[in-house]
Amino acid sequence: MIPKKILWIEDDALNELGELATAVYFELEYELDFALSATEGVRQLHKQTYDAVVVDVRLPPGDDPKWHSLHYEFGADDKTARLGLTLLRNVLGRDKGWTAKLPREARDPKLYGVLSIDPWDDIRGDLESVGVSIYRNKKEGTRVLLAIIEDILQQRNGNGDYV
């Protein structure tokens, strides 16, 4: 069995990385990579082809000056800057910006799901504008990461019905 490759772009501000990832590890079906900032997220998407990408809304910029200036422009606060949404707009929207060289596979909206503490109603418009329909709230519990990964994979297989 070849494990599915999963990328989780998550800032780990609440030290929940290990807590939510453990359920995924037990499955023995997924190779889980982490990116802890918007910079790292884009870097990983350039480097590797993934079967599912889980994105947090509140991301720190990382070390790329372009993300830094955006972060600063939006108030220099992860909560208000919402770089996760900017990342999705950049990767999936019309304005490709500095992600223009990403591989075609990374531009499929069905590849992405959003795992956040921001309520669905607050980000719905942004997600729908780029075609992302999978969302889960982190407060759902310790198996929520596994659940959203399964959601994305089911959707990619064409039998998803979400949100």
Partner: protein, 373 residues
């Protein structure tokens, strides 16, 4: 301005010059770490300082000689010029201090020199590297990150040379844990991880993964990841677990998750240990027989209590090993670990065989068959 006033002004300026140069120098001497101070002294260029010293001394001497004496018009003009010179000297000294006597300027100079030499003849200057690593160890914050980035750039330069054959990076790679282990933060760990994984990717791309540099890179990865576990940097340790792709050659990289897992169990950081066990299980799922690292990590889980034992059992059950498979793998793993001098791993496996595999037998009856979950 009358001569006496000019003379007085010159004396004041000179005192100010000595004061403003002397105080920062004194502060640097007191505050900077011993090894950094030695590095600064070693890298300081003597000529500008000698010139500065001689000029200052001459002015002091001139002022001393002319004080209270009647002087000619030309001497007075000369002294006025000297007064103006003191002001210029004042500015020049500050400019020099700002540009040359800071540790970041020294580091920049060292890195530039190393890059130039790497570009020229492909060699790494040992004294330069030693100074760079000393600075890296002793600095903190963004300055430490900059040195890690510089080490990464040097590694890339070395790897991009056409004659690179996978045997040149030892000194640079070994420096990474040295820099991070002392006062390293998450930012530094992340920077070092990026350098290690980039250099590994380059090595693999050039089909040099069986050369010596591969060992140095993986040893550095182990050292850095163990440091992350010891400091309870969970996100860093979890990322180290999956830092090396299994697509290339899992045999080469399998030691990294094993070491992380063993250290994590010792420190009761079970989520990291589970991540490591999962990684080893993924490697095992591609093979006929369980790798020795998986057996050893399961043994360490087993020895750590009932709950941890159940976790290891869940993974083994998922992999579908029979007790016979595990016994055979354990027997050869004990020998291999003993041959490697890793007695603690060998003992843990021995204990697993003597105690827990008995209960594993009772739930997995069919030797050679698949275990039920």
């Amino acid at each position: 301005m009358p001569f006496d006033e000019t003379l007085g002004l010159a004396q004041i300026l000179l005192a100010l010059l000595l004061f403003t140069v002397g105080i920062p120098a004194l502060i640097i001497e007191i505050r900077v770490d011993e090894s950094l101070r030695r590095l600064l002294h070693k890298r300081m260029h003597p000529v500008p300082l000698l010139v500065l010293g001689s000029v200052t001394l001459s002015i002091v001497l001139a002022l001393f000689l002319v004080t209270g004496q009647a002087v000619s018009l030309s001497t007075e003009r000369l002294l006025r010029l000297l007064s103006a010179g003191v002001i210029v000297l004042f500015a020049a000294v500050w400019y020099y201090i700002y540009n040359n006597l800071r540790i970041s300027a020294v580091v920049r100079e060292v890195v530039d020199h190393m890059k130039a030499r790497l570009n020229h003849d492909g060699t790494i200057s040992s004294p330069d590297l030693s100074d760079l690593l000393t600075a890296g160890e002793n600095l903190e914050g963004h300055e430490k990150t900059e040195i890690l980035v510089a080490v990464g750039e040097l590694i890339q330069l070395a790897q991009h040379r056409h004659e690179y054959s996978g045997t040149r990076l030892e000194a640079l790679i070994r420096g990474l844990p040295r820099i991070v282990e002392r006062n390293g933060s998450i930012e530094h760990h992340n920077a070092a991880m990026r350098v290690v994984t980039q250099s590994w990717t380059e090595l693999v791309t050039k089909k040099l993964k069986n050369e010596k540099d591969a060992d140095f890179i993986l040893n550095a990865a182990s050292a850095l990841s163990l440091d992350a576990v010891a400091r309870r940097l969970e996100s860093v340790a979890l990322r180290w677990v999956s830092a090396f792709s299994l697509d290339v050659d899992a045999d080469l990289v399998i030691d990294v998750p094993y070491r992380i897992g063993a250290a994590a169990i010792e420190q009761r950081q079970y989520r990291i240990a589970i991540a490591a066990l999962s990684r080893l299980a993924l490697i095992a799922s591609r093979r006929q027989r369980p790798p020795k690292e998986l057996v050893a990590l399961c043994a360490r889980f087993d020895a750590d209590g009932r709950s941890a034992r159940q976790i290891a059992r869940r993974f083994l059950d998922k992999l579908g090993y029979s007790s016979q498979d595990l016994r055979e793998a354990a027997a050869s793993a004990v020998i291999e670990f003993e041959n490697m001098g890793d007695c603690s791993s060998a003992d843990a496996i021995q204990h697993l065989v003597e105690s827990s595999l008995e209960t594993y037998d009772s739930t997995h009856h069919s030797p050679g068959g698949m275990a039920s979950s």
